[in-house]
Protein backbone atom coordinates (compact mmCIF):
# COMPACT_ATOMS: atom_id res chain seq x y z
CA UNK A 1 0.00 0.00 0.00
CA UNK A 2 1.25 3.45 -0.84
CA UNK A 3 1.56 5.50 2.31
CA UNK A 4 3.01 8.61 0.67
CA UNK A 5 2.61 9.71 -2.89
CA UNK A 6 3.78 12.81 -4.73
CA UNK A 7 2.67 13.90 -8.17
CA UNK A 8 4.70 16.42 -10.18
CA UNK A 9 5.76 18.13 -6.96
CA UNK A 10 7.37 21.46 -7.69
CA UNK A 11 8.75 24.18 -5.46
CA UNK A 12 10.07 27.53 -6.62
CA UNK A 13 12.13 29.87 -4.51
CA UNK A 14 11.90 33.04 -6.55
CA UNK A 15 12.95 31.92 -10.02
CA UNK A 16 14.83 28.87 -8.79
CA UNK A 17 13.14 25.48 -8.96
CA UNK A 18 14.40 23.78 -5.80
CA UNK A 19 12.21 20.78 -6.51
CA UNK A 20 10.95 20.31 -10.01
CA UNK A 21 8.24 17.99 -11.22
CA UNK A 22 9.11 15.13 -8.92
CA UNK A 23 6.88 12.05 -8.86
CA UNK A 24 7.51 9.66 -6.02
CA UNK A 25 5.85 7.16 -3.76
CA UNK A 26 6.65 5.30 -0.57
CA UNK A 27 5.08 1.98 0.34
CA UNK A 28 4.05 1.07 3.84
CA UNK A 29 6.85 -0.57 5.82
CA UNK A 30 9.65 0.48 3.48
CA UNK A 31 12.89 2.26 4.25
CA UNK A 32 13.42 4.67 1.37
CA UNK A 33 16.58 6.70 0.98
CA UNK A 34 16.83 10.10 -0.66
CA UNK A 35 20.26 11.08 -1.90
CA UNK A 36 21.81 13.71 -4.09
CA UNK A 37 24.56 16.30 -4.06
CA UNK A 38 24.34 19.40 -1.86
CA UNK A 39 21.59 21.71 -3.02
CA UNK A 40 19.76 18.94 -4.87
CA UNK A 41 16.49 19.73 -3.07
CA UNK A 42 16.38 16.85 -0.60
CA UNK A 43 15.57 18.87 2.51
CA UNK A 44 13.19 21.03 0.48
CA UNK A 45 11.27 17.90 -0.50
CA UNK A 46 11.09 16.95 3.19
CA UNK A 47 9.85 20.41 4.03
CA UNK A 48 7.15 20.03 1.39
CA UNK A 49 6.03 16.69 2.81
CA UNK A 50 5.87 18.09 6.35
CA UNK A 51 4.24 21.24 4.87
CA UNK A 52 6.82 23.60 6.38
CA UNK A 53 6.59 25.17 2.89
CA UNK A 54 3.60 24.99 0.57
CA UNK A 55 4.18 23.33 -2.80
CA UNK A 56 4.24 25.66 -5.82
CA UNK A 57 2.43 23.04 -7.88
CA UNK A 58 1.66 19.35 -7.83
CA UNK A 59 0.30 17.47 -4.87
CA UNK A 60 1.39 15.20 -2.07
CA UNK A 61 -0.93 12.61 -0.54
CA UNK A 62 -0.53 10.77 2.73
CA UNK A 63 -2.66 7.62 2.91
CA UNK A 64 -4.79 9.14 0.19
CA UNK A 65 -5.30 12.43 2.03
CA UNK A 66 -4.09 15.55 0.28
CA UNK A 67 -1.51 17.48 2.30
CA UNK A 68 -1.78 20.70 0.31
CA UNK A 69 -2.96 23.51 2.55
CA UNK A 70 -2.46 21.66 5.83
CA UNK A 71 -0.39 23.25 8.60
CA UNK A 72 2.66 21.36 9.90
CA UNK A 73 0.98 20.67 13.26
CA UNK A 74 -1.92 18.95 11.46
CA UNK A 75 0.48 16.91 9.34
CA UNK A 76 2.22 15.75 12.51
CA UNK A 77 -1.09 14.72 14.06
CA UNK A 78 -2.18 12.68 11.05
CA UNK A 79 0.96 10.59 11.35
CA UNK A 80 4.07 12.13 9.80
CA UNK A 81 6.94 12.66 12.23
CA UNK A 82 10.24 14.28 11.39
CA UNK A 83 13.70 15.19 12.59
CA UNK A 84 15.82 18.08 11.35
CA UNK A 85 19.08 18.33 9.49
CA UNK A 86 20.31 20.88 11.99
CA UNK A 87 18.98 19.72 15.32
CA UNK A 88 16.06 21.78 16.54
CA UNK A 89 15.84 20.86 20.18
CA UNK A 90 14.04 22.69 22.96
CA UNK A 91 17.15 23.95 24.70
CA UNK A 92 15.17 25.38 27.62
CA UNK A 93 13.94 21.99 28.84
CA UNK A 94 15.38 18.77 30.19
CA UNK A 95 15.65 15.76 27.86
CA UNK A 96 12.45 14.02 28.94
CA UNK A 97 10.38 17.17 28.51
CA UNK A 98 11.56 17.51 24.91
CA UNK A 99 10.09 14.09 24.23
CA UNK A 100 7.01 14.87 26.30
CA UNK A 101 6.13 17.72 23.93
CA UNK A 102 5.84 15.21 21.10
CA UNK A 103 3.80 12.79 23.21
CA UNK A 104 1.43 15.54 24.38
CA UNK A 105 0.73 17.38 21.17
CA UNK A 106 1.65 15.11 18.28
CA UNK A 107 -1.00 12.44 18.70
CA UNK A 108 -4.29 12.66 16.79
CA UNK A 109 -6.37 12.36 19.97
CA UNK A 110 -5.94 14.21 23.24
CA UNK A 111 -3.83 12.23 25.69
CA UNK A 112 -3.78 12.43 29.47
CA UNK A 113 -0.73 13.72 31.33
CA UNK A 114 0.08 10.25 32.66
CA UNK A 115 -0.38 8.72 29.22
CA UNK A 116 1.94 11.26 27.63
CA UNK A 117 4.56 10.76 30.34
CA UNK A 118 4.46 6.99 29.80
CA UNK A 119 4.70 7.40 26.04
CA UNK A 120 7.62 9.81 26.39
CA UNK A 121 9.65 7.57 28.68
CA UNK A 122 9.02 4.59 26.39
CA UNK A 123 10.25 6.55 23.39
CA UNK A 124 13.32 7.68 25.30
CA UNK A 125 14.02 4.12 26.36
CA UNK A 126 13.64 2.97 22.76
CA UNK A 127 16.48 5.22 21.62
CA UNK A 128 18.54 4.19 24.65
CA UNK A 129 18.62 7.46 26.56
CA UNK A 130 16.59 6.66 29.66
CA UNK A 131 19.57 7.34 31.89
CA UNK A 132 19.72 10.96 30.68
CA UNK A 133 16.02 11.76 31.09
CA UNK A 134 16.59 14.46 33.67
CA UNK A 135 19.66 16.05 32.11
CA UNK A 136 19.68 19.41 30.42
CA UNK A 137 19.52 18.71 26.70
CA UNK A 138 22.22 21.23 25.96
CA UNK A 139 24.70 19.10 27.87
CA UNK A 140 24.16 16.18 25.49
CA UNK A 141 26.48 15.34 22.60
CA UNK A 142 25.27 15.88 19.04
CA UNK A 143 24.63 12.14 18.60
CA UNK A 144 22.44 12.05 21.66
CA UNK A 145 20.62 15.25 20.73
CA UNK A 146 19.78 13.61 17.43
CA UNK A 147 18.52 10.57 19.30
CA UNK A 148 16.31 12.79 21.41
CA UNK A 149 14.90 14.25 18.20
CA UNK A 150 14.12 10.73 17.02
CA UNK A 151 12.47 9.91 20.35
CA UNK A 152 10.48 13.14 20.20
CA UNK A 153 9.25 12.29 16.71
CA UNK A 154 8.44 8.70 17.75
CA UNK A 155 6.44 9.97 20.73
CA UNK A 156 4.05 11.67 18.30
CA UNK A 157 3.06 8.18 17.14
CA UNK A 158 3.99 8.52 13.46
CA UNK A 159 3.22 6.04 10.69
CA UNK A 160 5.82 7.70 8.50
CA UNK A 161 9.06 9.08 9.86
CA UNK A 162 11.18 11.57 7.95
CA UNK A 163 14.83 11.42 9.03
CA UNK A 164 16.90 14.31 7.71
CA UNK A 165 20.61 13.42 7.81
CA UNK A 166 20.43 11.51 11.06
CA UNK A 167 23.98 10.22 10.57
CA UNK A 168 25.73 13.41 9.53
CA UNK A 169 28.65 14.15 11.82
CA UNK A 170 28.66 10.74 13.49
CA UNK A 171 31.71 8.48 13.73
CA UNK A 172 31.61 4.97 12.17
CA UNK A 173 30.61 3.25 15.41
CA UNK A 174 27.83 5.76 15.95
CA UNK A 175 26.67 5.31 12.35
CA UNK A 176 26.31 1.56 12.94
CA UNK A 177 24.27 2.22 16.06
CA UNK A 178 22.09 4.69 14.21
CA UNK A 179 21.53 2.16 11.40
CA UNK A 180 20.45 -0.37 13.97
CA UNK A 181 18.07 2.17 15.47
CA UNK A 182 16.51 2.94 12.08
CA UNK A 183 15.96 -0.76 11.39
CA UNK A 184 14.44 -1.16 14.85
CA UNK A 185 12.01 1.68 14.14
CA UNK A 186 10.95 0.08 10.88
CA UNK A 187 10.44 -3.23 12.69
CA UNK A 188 7.91 -1.40 14.89
CA UNK A 189 5.90 -0.90 11.72
CA UNK A 190 6.91 2.69 10.99
CA UNK A 191 7.71 3.55 7.39
CA UNK A 192 10.94 5.48 6.94
CA UNK A 193 11.94 8.12 4.43
CA UNK A 194 15.49 9.31 5.00
CA UNK A 195 17.86 11.86 3.56
CA UNK A 196 21.41 10.72 4.01
CA UNK A 197 24.92 11.42 2.82
CA UNK A 198 26.56 8.49 4.55
CA UNK A 199 26.60 5.92 1.74
CA UNK A 200 27.36 2.99 3.99
CA UNK A 201 24.15 3.65 5.86
CA UNK A 202 22.03 4.26 2.79
CA UNK A 203 23.28 1.19 0.98
CA UNK A 204 23.05 -0.94 4.10
CA UNK A 205 19.48 -0.36 5.17
CA UNK A 206 17.43 1.17 2.37
CA UNK A 207 15.26 -1.05 0.22
CA UNK A 208 14.84 1.63 -2.36
CA UNK A 209 16.73 4.82 -3.14
CA UNK A 210 15.72 8.00 -4.95
CA UNK A 211 18.30 10.34 -6.40
CA UNK A 212 17.67 14.06 -6.76
CA UNK A 213 19.85 16.39 -8.77
CA UNK A 214 19.12 20.08 -9.35
CA UNK A 215 15.63 19.44 -8.02
CA UNK A 216 14.84 16.67 -10.47
CA UNK A 217 14.54 12.97 -9.82
CA UNK A 218 17.16 11.34 -12.00
CA UNK A 219 17.12 7.78 -10.71
CA UNK A 220 15.28 5.39 -8.50
CA UNK A 221 15.84 1.77 -7.59
CA UNK A 222 17.44 -0.75 -5.28
CA UNK A 223 20.89 0.08 -3.87
CA UNK A 224 22.45 -2.24 -6.48
CA UNK A 225 20.67 -0.49 -9.32
CA UNK A 226 21.66 2.93 -8.03
CA UNK A 227 25.34 2.07 -7.65
CA UNK A 228 25.31 0.76 -11.22
CA UNK A 229 23.45 3.78 -12.63
CA UNK A 230 25.69 5.76 -15.00
CA UNK A 231 24.01 9.10 -14.46
CA UNK A 232 24.32 8.81 -10.69
CA UNK A 233 27.98 7.87 -10.92
CA UNK A 234 28.56 10.83 -13.18
CA UNK A 235 26.95 13.23 -10.73
CA UNK A 236 28.81 11.91 -7.74
CA UNK A 237 32.16 11.28 -9.37
CA UNK A 238 32.08 13.49 -12.41
CA UNK A 239 31.70 16.78 -10.61
CA UNK A 240 35.38 17.54 -10.89
CA UNK A 241 35.33 17.38 -14.67
CA UNK A 242 32.29 19.64 -14.65
CA UNK A 243 34.12 22.12 -12.52
CA UNK A 244 37.11 21.96 -14.80
CA UNK A 245 35.29 22.43 -18.06
Amino acid sequence: MRILEGQSVTKFFGGLAAVSNVDFHIDQGEIVGLIGPNGAGKTTLFNLVSTAFPVSSGEIRFKGQKLNGLKPHRVCKIGIGRTFQETKIFGNMPVIQNVLVGAFFGTPTRVSGAGAAREASQALEFVGLSAMAGDSIQDLTLVNQKRVEVARALATGPELLLLDELMAGLNPAEVSEAMELVTKIRDKGITIFMVEHVMKAIMGICERIMVLHHGEKIAEGTPQEITANKEVIEIYLGEETHAGS
Binding site: H73, I89, F90, G91, F105, R152, A153
Partner: protein
Protein backbone atom coordinates in the same frame (compact mmCIF):
# COMPACT_ATOMS: atom_id res chain seq x y z
CA UNK B 1 17.53 8.80 53.44
CA UNK B 2 15.24 9.80 56.26
CA UNK B 3 16.91 13.16 56.40
CA UNK B 4 16.32 13.79 52.72
CA UNK B 5 12.70 12.76 52.95
CA UNK B 6 12.24 15.00 55.94
CA UNK B 7 13.86 17.82 54.04
CA UNK B 8 11.68 17.53 50.96
CA UNK B 9 8.40 17.33 52.88
CA UNK B 10 9.65 20.03 55.17
CA UNK B 11 10.42 22.24 52.20
CA UNK B 12 6.91 22.01 50.83
CA UNK B 13 5.55 22.90 54.26
CA UNK B 14 7.93 25.83 54.43
CA UNK B 15 6.78 27.16 51.08
CA UNK B 16 3.11 26.77 51.94
CA UNK B 17 3.71 28.38 55.32
CA UNK B 18 5.58 31.28 53.80
CA UNK B 19 2.87 31.92 51.19
CA UNK B 20 0.20 31.79 53.91
CA UNK B 21 2.19 34.20 56.05
CA UNK B 22 2.48 36.68 53.18
CA UNK B 23 -1.21 36.34 52.39
CA UNK B 24 -2.23 36.89 56.02
CA UNK B 25 0.11 39.86 56.23
CA UNK B 26 -1.34 41.40 53.06
CA UNK B 27 -4.91 40.69 54.12
CA UNK B 28 -4.58 42.17 57.59
CA UNK B 29 -2.28 45.08 56.81
CA UNK B 30 -5.04 47.67 56.16
CA UNK B 31 -6.27 47.03 59.72
CA UNK B 32 -3.14 48.44 61.33
CA UNK B 33 -0.88 49.91 58.61
CA UNK B 34 -0.83 53.56 57.63
CA UNK B 35 -2.20 54.84 54.35
CA UNK B 36 1.18 55.37 52.71
CA UNK B 37 2.24 51.77 53.19
CA UNK B 38 -1.17 50.46 52.17
CA UNK B 39 -0.77 52.32 48.88
CA UNK B 40 2.75 51.00 48.53
CA UNK B 41 1.52 47.42 48.93
CA UNK B 42 -1.30 48.03 46.46
CA UNK B 43 1.24 49.30 43.95
CA UNK B 44 3.45 46.27 44.49
CA UNK B 45 0.45 43.98 43.97
CA UNK B 46 -0.40 45.82 40.76
CA UNK B 47 3.16 45.40 39.49
CA UNK B 48 3.01 41.75 40.50
CA UNK B 49 -0.02 41.28 38.26
CA UNK B 50 1.71 43.05 35.36
CA UNK B 51 5.08 41.33 35.76
CA UNK B 52 3.70 37.82 36.21
CA UNK B 53 1.32 38.19 33.25
CA UNK B 54 4.08 39.60 31.09
CA UNK B 55 6.53 36.84 32.06
CA UNK B 56 3.93 34.13 31.43
CA UNK B 57 3.80 35.04 27.75
CA UNK B 58 6.92 36.98 26.83
CA UNK B 59 9.29 35.34 29.29
CA UNK B 60 8.53 31.82 28.11
CA UNK B 61 8.08 32.39 24.37
CA UNK B 62 10.74 35.06 23.88
CA UNK B 63 8.23 37.32 22.13
CA UNK B 64 9.07 40.59 23.86
CA UNK B 65 5.82 42.45 24.23
CA UNK B 66 6.06 46.16 24.95
CA UNK B 67 2.29 46.53 24.79
CA UNK B 68 1.69 46.18 28.54
CA UNK B 69 1.12 49.95 28.84
CA UNK B 70 -1.53 49.77 26.12
CA UNK B 71 -3.51 47.05 27.88
CA UNK B 72 -3.08 48.74 31.24
CA UNK B 73 -4.21 52.04 29.73
CA UNK B 74 -7.31 50.50 28.19
CA UNK B 75 -8.28 49.34 31.67
CA UNK B 76 -7.68 52.80 33.14
CA UNK B 77 -9.72 54.50 30.42
CA UNK B 78 -12.51 51.94 30.79
CA UNK B 79 -12.78 52.96 34.43
CA UNK B 80 -12.66 56.64 33.52
CA UNK B 81 -15.58 56.32 31.14
CA UNK B 82 -17.71 53.66 32.82
CA UNK B 83 -17.28 54.40 36.54
CA UNK B 84 -20.55 56.33 36.77
CA UNK B 85 -22.70 53.94 34.80
CA UNK B 86 -21.61 50.51 36.00
CA UNK B 87 -20.62 48.94 39.33
CA UNK B 88 -16.90 48.97 40.09
CA UNK B 89 -16.21 45.19 39.85
CA UNK B 90 -18.07 45.01 36.53
CA UNK B 91 -15.88 47.78 35.12
CA UNK B 92 -12.77 45.86 36.17
CA UNK B 93 -13.92 42.82 34.23
CA UNK B 94 -14.85 45.01 31.26
CA UNK B 95 -11.41 46.65 31.37
CA UNK B 96 -9.85 43.20 31.22
CA UNK B 97 -12.12 42.02 28.42
CA UNK B 98 -11.48 45.11 26.30
CA UNK B 99 -7.73 44.60 26.69
CA UNK B 100 -8.13 40.95 25.76
CA UNK B 101 -10.12 41.79 22.65
CA UNK B 102 -7.41 44.23 21.62
CA UNK B 103 -4.66 41.70 22.35
CA UNK B 104 -6.50 39.06 20.32
CA UNK B 105 -6.60 41.35 17.28
CA UNK B 106 -2.97 42.44 17.66
CA UNK B 107 -1.93 38.85 18.22
CA UNK B 108 -3.60 37.60 15.07
CA UNK B 109 -1.84 40.24 13.01
CA UNK B 110 1.57 40.44 14.63
CA UNK B 111 2.44 37.21 16.35
CA UNK B 112 3.93 35.91 13.15
CA UNK B 113 6.55 38.65 13.39
CA UNK B 114 9.67 37.28 14.97
CA UNK B 115 12.12 38.77 17.41
CA UNK B 116 12.72 42.47 17.38
CA UNK B 117 9.89 43.23 14.91
CA UNK B 118 7.26 42.10 17.36
CA UNK B 119 8.82 44.20 20.13
CA UNK B 120 8.93 47.28 17.92
CA UNK B 121 5.38 46.80 16.71
CA UNK B 122 4.03 46.53 20.22
CA UNK B 123 6.00 49.60 21.27
CA UNK B 124 4.59 51.54 18.32
CA UNK B 125 1.15 50.32 19.27
CA UNK B 126 1.41 51.90 22.73
CA UNK B 127 2.32 55.22 21.09
CA UNK B 128 -0.48 54.89 18.59
CA UNK B 129 -3.23 54.01 21.02
CA UNK B 130 -2.05 56.64 23.51
CA UNK B 131 -2.16 59.41 20.92
CA UNK B 132 -5.44 58.19 19.46
CA UNK B 133 -7.06 58.04 22.86
CA UNK B 134 -5.77 61.53 23.64
CA UNK B 135 -7.13 62.90 20.40
CA UNK B 136 -10.54 61.29 20.78
CA UNK B 137 -10.84 62.15 24.45
CA UNK B 138 -9.79 65.78 24.26
CA UNK B 139 -10.65 66.86 20.72
CA UNK B 140 -13.74 64.84 19.90
CA UNK B 141 -15.29 64.21 23.31
CA UNK B 142 -14.02 67.50 24.70
CA UNK B 143 -12.61 66.14 27.96
CA UNK B 144 -9.75 68.64 27.87
CA UNK B 145 -9.18 68.35 31.60
CA UNK B 146 -9.20 64.57 31.73
CA UNK B 147 -11.28 62.54 34.15
CA UNK B 148 -11.70 62.61 37.88
CA UNK B 149 -11.98 59.09 39.24
CA UNK B 150 -14.31 58.55 42.17
CA UNK B 151 -12.15 58.20 45.26
CA UNK B 152 -12.01 54.90 47.00
CA UNK B 153 -10.99 53.82 50.44
CA UNK B 154 -7.33 52.71 50.17
CA UNK B 155 -8.05 49.63 52.25
CA UNK B 156 -10.87 48.56 49.95
CA UNK B 157 -8.72 49.19 46.91
CA UNK B 158 -5.98 47.14 48.51
CA UNK B 159 -8.30 44.19 49.06
CA UNK B 160 -9.53 44.27 45.50
CA UNK B 161 -5.98 44.42 44.15
CA UNK B 162 -5.04 41.56 46.44
CA UNK B 163 -7.97 39.59 45.05
CA UNK B 164 -6.91 40.29 41.47
CA UNK B 165 -3.30 39.35 42.26
CA UNK B 166 -4.36 36.05 43.81
CA UNK B 167 -6.60 35.21 40.84
CA UNK B 168 -3.82 36.16 38.41
CA UNK B 169 -1.17 34.14 40.22
CA UNK B 170 -3.37 31.07 40.54
CA UNK B 171 -4.44 31.21 36.89
CA UNK B 172 -0.91 31.64 35.64
CA UNK B 173 0.45 29.02 38.02
CA UNK B 174 -1.95 26.49 36.55
CA UNK B 175 -1.33 27.60 32.99
CA UNK B 176 2.39 27.15 33.48
CA UNK B 177 1.84 23.64 34.77
CA UNK B 178 -0.67 22.74 32.07
CA UNK B 179 -0.13 21.58 28.51
CA UNK B 180 -0.39 25.21 27.40
CA UNK B 181 2.56 26.06 29.60
CA UNK B 182 4.56 23.29 27.95
CA UNK B 183 3.46 24.51 24.52
CA UNK B 184 4.58 28.06 25.32
CA UNK B 185 7.91 26.82 26.61
CA UNK B 186 8.51 24.77 23.47
CA UNK B 187 7.71 27.80 21.31
CA UNK B 188 10.38 29.64 23.26
CA UNK B 189 12.76 26.71 22.78
CA UNK B 190 12.29 26.29 19.04
CA UNK B 191 9.12 27.46 17.38
CA UNK B 192 9.63 25.53 14.15
CA UNK B 193 10.15 22.25 15.99
CA UNK B 194 7.13 23.01 18.19
CA UNK B 195 4.93 23.41 15.12
CA UNK B 196 6.22 20.13 13.68
CA UNK B 197 5.50 18.33 16.97
CA UNK B 198 1.79 19.02 16.62
CA UNK B 199 1.47 22.37 18.38
CA UNK B 200 -0.74 24.96 16.73
CA UNK B 201 1.79 27.65 17.52
CA UNK B 202 -0.19 30.59 16.14
CA UNK B 203 -3.32 29.81 18.15
CA UNK B 204 -1.33 29.02 21.30
CA UNK B 205 0.45 32.36 21.09
CA UNK B 206 -2.71 34.35 20.36
CA UNK B 207 -4.75 32.71 23.13
CA UNK B 208 -2.12 33.08 25.83
CA UNK B 209 -1.28 36.63 24.79
CA UNK B 210 -5.00 37.37 25.09
CA UNK B 211 -5.23 35.80 28.55
CA UNK B 212 -2.16 37.64 29.84
CA UNK B 213 -3.53 40.98 28.67
CA UNK B 214 -6.82 40.41 30.50
CA UNK B 215 -5.00 40.73 33.81
CA UNK B 216 -3.14 43.81 32.61
CA UNK B 217 -6.40 45.53 31.65
CA UNK B 218 -8.07 44.55 34.91
CA UNK B 219 -5.08 45.90 36.85
CA UNK B 220 -5.38 49.19 34.94
CA UNK B 221 -9.07 49.55 35.75
CA UNK B 222 -8.39 48.80 39.41
CA UNK B 223 -5.49 51.21 39.61
CA UNK B 224 -7.46 54.12 38.15
CA UNK B 225 -8.89 55.24 41.54
CA UNK B 226 -5.35 55.33 42.93
CA UNK B 227 -4.24 57.56 40.07
CA UNK B 228 -7.21 59.79 40.94
CA UNK B 229 -6.85 62.13 38.02
CA UNK B 230 -6.82 60.28 34.72
CA UNK B 231 -5.81 61.58 31.37
CA UNK B 232 -4.94 59.42 28.35
CA UNK B 233 -1.26 60.36 28.40
CA UNK B 234 -1.06 59.23 32.01
CA UNK B 235 -3.10 56.10 31.34
CA UNK B 236 -0.88 55.00 28.43
CA UNK B 237 2.43 55.91 30.05
CA UNK B 238 5.02 53.75 28.29
CA UNK B 239 6.82 53.38 31.60
CA UNK B 240 4.27 50.69 32.41
CA UNK B 241 5.60 48.61 29.53
CA UNK B 242 9.16 48.63 30.79
CA UNK B 243 8.61 48.17 34.50
CA UNK B 244 7.21 44.61 34.28
CA UNK B 245 10.12 43.59 32.03
CA UNK B 246 12.62 45.08 34.45
CA UNK B 247 10.94 43.26 37.32
CA UNK B 248 10.74 39.94 35.51
CA UNK B 249 14.40 40.09 34.48
CA UNK B 250 15.49 41.16 37.95
CA UNK B 251 13.49 38.44 39.66
CA UNK B 252 14.32 35.81 37.07
CA UNK B 253 11.89 34.28 34.61
CA UNK B 254 12.88 30.64 35.04
CA UNK B 255 10.73 30.32 38.13
CA UNK B 256 7.13 31.23 38.71
CA UNK B 257 7.92 33.39 41.73
CA UNK B 258 10.78 35.31 40.06
CA UNK B 259 8.65 38.19 38.71
CA UNK B 260 6.88 38.39 42.08
CA UNK B 261 10.18 39.07 43.82
CA UNK B 262 11.07 41.59 41.12
CA UNK B 263 7.72 43.33 41.52
CA UNK B 264 8.14 43.56 45.29
CA UNK B 265 11.66 45.01 45.09
CA UNK B 266 11.05 47.41 42.23
CA UNK B 267 7.58 48.36 43.39
CA UNK B 268 9.16 49.45 46.66
CA UNK B 269 12.04 51.23 44.91
CA UNK B 270 9.63 52.89 42.51
CA UNK B 271 7.64 54.52 45.31
CA UNK B 272 10.54 55.45 47.57
CA UNK B 273 13.01 56.60 44.92
CA UNK B 274 10.38 58.72 43.24
CA UNK B 275 9.93 60.55 46.53
CA UNK B 276 13.56 60.79 47.52
CA UNK B 277 15.40 61.14 44.23
CA UNK B 278 12.55 62.19 41.92
CA UNK B 279 14.72 63.21 38.95
CA UNK B 280 17.26 60.46 39.18
CA UNK B 281 15.21 57.42 39.96
CA UNK B 282 15.21 56.19 36.37
CA UNK B 283 18.98 56.41 36.44
CA UNK B 284 19.12 54.19 39.51
CA UNK B 285 16.78 51.70 37.79
CA UNK B 286 19.03 51.67 34.77
CA UNK B 287 22.13 50.98 36.82
CA UNK B 288 20.42 48.16 38.71
CA UNK B 289 19.22 46.60 35.46
CA UNK B 290 22.68 46.70 33.90
CA UNK B 291 24.18 45.14 37.02
CA UNK B 292 21.58 42.37 37.02
CA UNK B 293 22.11 41.55 33.36
CA UNK B 294 25.89 41.50 33.82
CA UNK B 295 26.11 39.57 37.06
CA UNK B 296 22.80 37.77 37.52
CA UNK B 297 21.60 36.80 34.03
CA UNK B 298 19.04 34.44 35.56
CA UNK B 299 17.87 37.00 38.08
CA UNK B 300 17.39 36.54 41.80
CA UNK B 301 15.83 33.09 41.40
CA UNK B 302 18.86 31.99 39.39
CA UNK B 303 21.07 33.17 42.24
CA UNK B 304 18.95 31.33 44.79
CA UNK B 305 19.16 28.12 42.81
CA UNK B 306 22.91 28.27 42.37
CA UNK B 307 23.27 28.94 46.09
CA UNK B 308 21.07 25.95 46.83
CA UNK B 309 23.29 23.74 44.74
CA UNK B 310 26.39 24.69 46.67
CA UNK B 311 24.85 24.44 50.12
CA UNK B 312 25.81 21.45 52.27
CA UNK B 313 22.18 20.39 52.58
CA UNK B 314 21.96 20.13 48.78
CA UNK B 315 25.03 17.91 48.79
CA UNK B 316 23.45 15.78 51.44
CA UNK B 317 20.29 15.54 49.38
CA UNK B 318 22.25 14.56 46.33
CA UNK B 319 24.21 11.92 48.22
CA UNK B 320 20.97 10.52 49.57
CA UNK B 321 19.64 10.14 46.05
CA UNK B 322 22.79 8.39 44.91
CA UNK B 323 22.48 5.97 47.79
CA UNK B 324 18.92 5.28 46.81
CA UNK B 325 20.03 4.55 43.28
CA UNK B 326 22.77 2.26 44.54
CA UNK B 327 20.31 0.37 46.71
CA UNK B 328 17.88 -0.32 43.91
Amino acid sequence: MDITRLFTTHRKLLVVGFVLFILIFLATFPLYGNAYYIRLLTTILMYTVLAVSWAMFSGTTGYMSLATAAFFGVGVMAMAFLQKTLPFPVVIVIGGLLSSALAFLIGLVTLRLRGIYFAIFTFGFVMFIGQTAYYIDSHILGNVWGHQIILMDPGMLHYMMLGLAVVTLLTIYFIRRSRYGLALLSIGGNEEAAEHMGINTTMTKVILFTISSFFMGAAGALMAPAIVYVESRIAFNVFNSFMPILMAIFGGMGQFYGPVIGAAVFGYLDRTLRVELSEYFMLVFGIILVMVILFLPNGITGLIQSLQNTRPIAKLLHRGKEEQHANT
